[in-house]
C-alpha cells in the first residue's frame, strides 16, 4: 500500500484547514476516510490512477497560498472581444480588487454566508475528492443570480493557479440561480507558470424553476498539473442547464460532472471536447440522474488524441422507475492520430422506467484517409487537409458555444495546434 492510500500525506492538508465550517469539515474528513484515496482497482477510477499520480507528482501536500496577480495578467487572460463580468481568483481565493460585477449578481465569500448550503449538492460521500475539498478548502465564492434576472453577458471566472512546491489548490464555488433567471459562466483555469500543483475543485450549482444556466469550463493548464473537478448541479422544473467541458492540456485531469434532473420538463445538455497530446491523461466521468418523468438529457463528447495521450469517457445515464417519458441521448466520438494514444470509452445506462427513449453510441477511429486524399486531390496540402478534417470533427461541439469570444479563442488555440501538424 502506498502512503497516500493510507491517507498519511493528506494530514498536512487537514491540519492547515482554517477554523471555519467546523462541522462541515469534520463531515468531509470522515467521509474522506470512509472512502479513502481511490485504490488502483477502484471501479470509478479504474483507468485514472490518481493516488499514484499524486504520490509521484506532488512534493508538498499542503495548501498553496494565493500569489499576486496583476491587472496586466488579467487583461491578457481575458478573451479578445469578451464583454461581461470578470471574477479573478488566485489559487482558489477571490481577488475583489481585480474583479467587477453586474446588476442581479450577488457575490459573497463563502465564509460570509450563514447556514451554508455547501455539501448539499456535491455530497461528500459520493466522491473522495469532493470530501477532501469539503474538509480542506480555504474559502471560496457564493454567487447568486436574482429571481427573474437575465444576465445576458457571460460571467468569467478567471482562475490563476501557481504553486512553487507542488501544493494543493482547492477552489470551492456555489452558484445559485433564481427562478426565471438566466446566466452563463465560463470557468477558465490558467497556469501562471509550468510548476506542478494539484487542483481539487468543487462547484455546486443550484438552479431555480424556469432557469437557464450555462457553465463552460476551459482547462488549459501546464502539462505538470494534476486536477480533479467535481461539478454537481440540481436542475428544477422547466429549467435548462448546459455545460461544455474543453480540455486542451494537463498531466492527469479527472472531471466529474453530475446533473440531477429534479423537475419535469428540465433539460440537461453536456458537451465536451478534449484535444490531447504528449502524455496528457484526461478522464471525463458524467452522470445524469433522471429522477422525474418528462425530462431530457443530451450529451456529446468528442476527443482527438495523439502521441501517448490517454482519454477516458464514462457516461452514466440513470433513469429511475418513476421517470417515464425520459429522453436521454449520449454520444462519444474519438479520433486517434497515433499508434500509442489510448481511449477507454464506456456508456453506462441504467434504466428502470419502461417508457423512455434512450440512445448512446461511441466511436473510435482514425482520420479518414479517403477524405484526406479527396482534399489533397483538389490541391490542398496534407497538413491543411488534416486540420480541416479535425477542425470539422471538433466543430460540432464548438458550434454549441454561444459566446463568440470564448468560441473564437478556442478555435484559435485549436487551429494553432492543428496547423502545426498536431
Amino acid at each position: 500500500m502506498s502512503t497516500l492510500t493510507q491517507h498519511e500525506s493528506v494530514l498536512g492538508l487537514f491540519e492547515a484547514a482554517p477554523a471555519t465550517f467546523l462541522s462541515l469539515r469534520q463531515l468531509g474528513k470522515e467521509s474522506f476516510y470512509a472512502q479513502g484515496m481511490p485504490a488502483l482497482k477502484a471501479e470509478e477510477y479504474k483507468f485514472t490512477p490518481l493516488a499514484k499520480k499524486l504520490e509521484s507528482g506532488l512534493t508538498d501536500f499542503s495548501p498553496a497560498k494565493p500569489v499576486k496577480i496583476s491587472a496586466d495578467q488579467v487583461k491578457s487572460a481575458v478573451f479578445t472581444g469578451f464583454e461581461g463580468v470578470v471574477l479573478v481568483f488566485s489559487n482558489g481565493q477571490y481577488l475583489p480588487e481585480l474583479s467587477n460585477s453586474t446588476e442581479g449578481l450577488t457575490i459573497n465569500l463563502l465564509s460570509e454566508i450563514e447556514n451554508t448550503p455547501l455539501g448539499s449538492i456535491a455530497k461528500p460521500d459520493k466522491d473522495p475528492f469532493a470530501a477532501l475539498n469539503q474538509a480542506t478548502f480555504m474559502d471560496g465564492l457564493h454567487l447568486s443570480i436574482e429571481n427573474k434576472k437575465s444576465i445576458e453577458s457571460p460571467i468569467l471566472l478567471l482562475q490563476f493557479h501557481q504553486a512553487q512546491g507542488g501544493q494543493v489548490i482547492s477552489p470551492r464555488i456555489w452558484i445559485e440561480a433564481g427562478d426565471f433567471s438566466k446566466a452563463t459562466f465560463i470557468d477558465y483555469h490558467i497556469s501562471v507558470d509550468a510548476a506542478p500543483y494539484f487542483v481539487n475543485k468543487v462547484v455546486e450549482i443550484k438552479g431555480g424553476v424556469h432557469a437557464n444556466i450555462t457553465y463552460h469550463s476551459l482547462q488549459e493548464e501546464s502539462n505538470q498539473v494534476i486536477e480533479v473537478s467535481n461539478v454537481v448541479t440540481d436542475i428544477q422544473q422547466d429549467s435548462q442547464f448546459t455545460s461544455t467541458q474543453i480540455t486542451l492540456s494537463g498531466d492527469m485531469v479527472r472531471n466529474n460532472l453530475t446533473l440531477n434532473l429534479l423537475g419535469s420538463n428540465s433539460v440537461g445538455n453536456m458537451n465536451g471536447l478534449y484535444l490531447l497530446q504528449g502524455k496528457t491523461h484526461v478522464d471525463n466521468h458524467t452522470n445524469v440522474d433522471h429522477t422525474i418523468p418528462h425530462a431530457e438529457s443530451n450529451e456529446l463528447y468528442k476527443g482527438i488524441l495523439t502521441d501517448q495521450s490517454r482519454g477516458v469517457f464514462n457516461g452514466k445515464i440513470f433513469v429511475r422507475q418513476i421517470a417515464q417519458k425520459t429522453n436521454a441521448f449520449q454520444q462519444n466520438n474519438n479520433i486517434l492520430l497515433s499508434e500509442d494514444a489510448i481511449i477507454n470509452t464506456k456508456p453506462q445506462l441504467e434504466i428502470w422506467a419502461d417508457d423512455v427513449k434512450c440512445s448512446h453510441g461511441c466511436t473510435v477511429g482514425q482520420l479518414d484517409e479517403e477524405a484526406l486524399f479527396y482534399l489533397q486531390a483538389r490541391g490542398i496540402d496534407k497538413i491543411t487537409a488534416k486540420g480541416l478534417l479535425l477542425y470539422a470533427f471538433a466543430g460540432e461541439v464548438l458550434d454549441k458555444i454561444e459566446d463568440d469570444s470564448l468560441r473564437n479563442y478556442i478555435v484559435n488555440q485549436i487551429q494553432n495546434r492543428l496547423g502545426s501538424n498536431f
Binding site: Y374, A377, R378, G379, I380, D381, F393
Partner: protein, 254 residues
Amino acid sequence: MLSIKNLHASIEGTPILRGINLEVKAGEVHAIMGPNGSGKSTLASVLAGREEYEVTEGEVFFQGKELLSLSPEDRAREGVFLAFQYPIEIPGVSTTNFLRTALNQVREYRGQEPLDAVKFLSLMKEKMALVEIDQKLLSRSLNEGFSGGEKKRNEIFQMAMLNPVLSILDETDSGLDIDALRIVSNGVNKLKSDTTATIVVTHYQRLLDYIVPDFVHVLYKGRIVKSGKKELALELEEKGYDWIKEEVDSTATV
C-alpha cells in the same frame, strides 16, 4: 501532354496494371473502357496519386514533368483533376469553404494572387450555372446527404472552379439518370478547349453519346488491348466485351 509508358501498379502485392502505354495530346478526349475489374479505376487513381497503389514499373510524364514523383496536391496544382467515382462525404466542411482553400492553394502554387471573398463568389456563381447546381447545396457539408446526381454535379463544378489541364472522369456516369447525365456532360463539354484534355473512364457507351471521344481504348487485365475511334465504343455497346476477352485470351502469352 500526358505520356504513360509501360505503367505497372499493384495493390497489396496484387498486380492490377500490367504495362499501360498511352499518349494524350492537348485538345483530345480519350475514353477508357473495359469490363469490371480490368483496372480502369486503378489507372485513374494512380494518375491522381492515391497512396494505396504501388507503382512497380514505368513512367508517366505530364507536361514534361515526372508525374509519379509528385504528391497528390502538387498533381492537382499542376492541373490534373480526378472526378471521383464515389465522391467522399465530409461532415462539417462546406464545399464553399473547402474549395476556396483549395483554389487559393492552387493559385499560390501557380504564382497567382489569392482570390478575395467577392471575386471567389462571382467565380462560383459563373461556374454554378455551368452544372446547374444550387448555392444552398454548396454551403452545406461537402456531399453530405447529396443525391448521386448532386454529388457528380459537384465534382464537375469543382473541376470548373479549379480549371484543370487534364481532367480524368472516373465512371462519372454511374448513378446518374438521363437528365443528370445530360447536365454533367454539358458541363464537361463546355470546359473542353484546345489546350486541355479529358480522359473518360466508363463501363458503358452511353456517356460517350454526350462526351464524344476522339479515341477509345479497351482495358483488359491491366493492359490496353484495343484502341480505336469512337465507333469502337458503339461496337462494344452492341457486342459486349466477350469477343475482346476471347481475342485476347486466345493469343495470350503473359
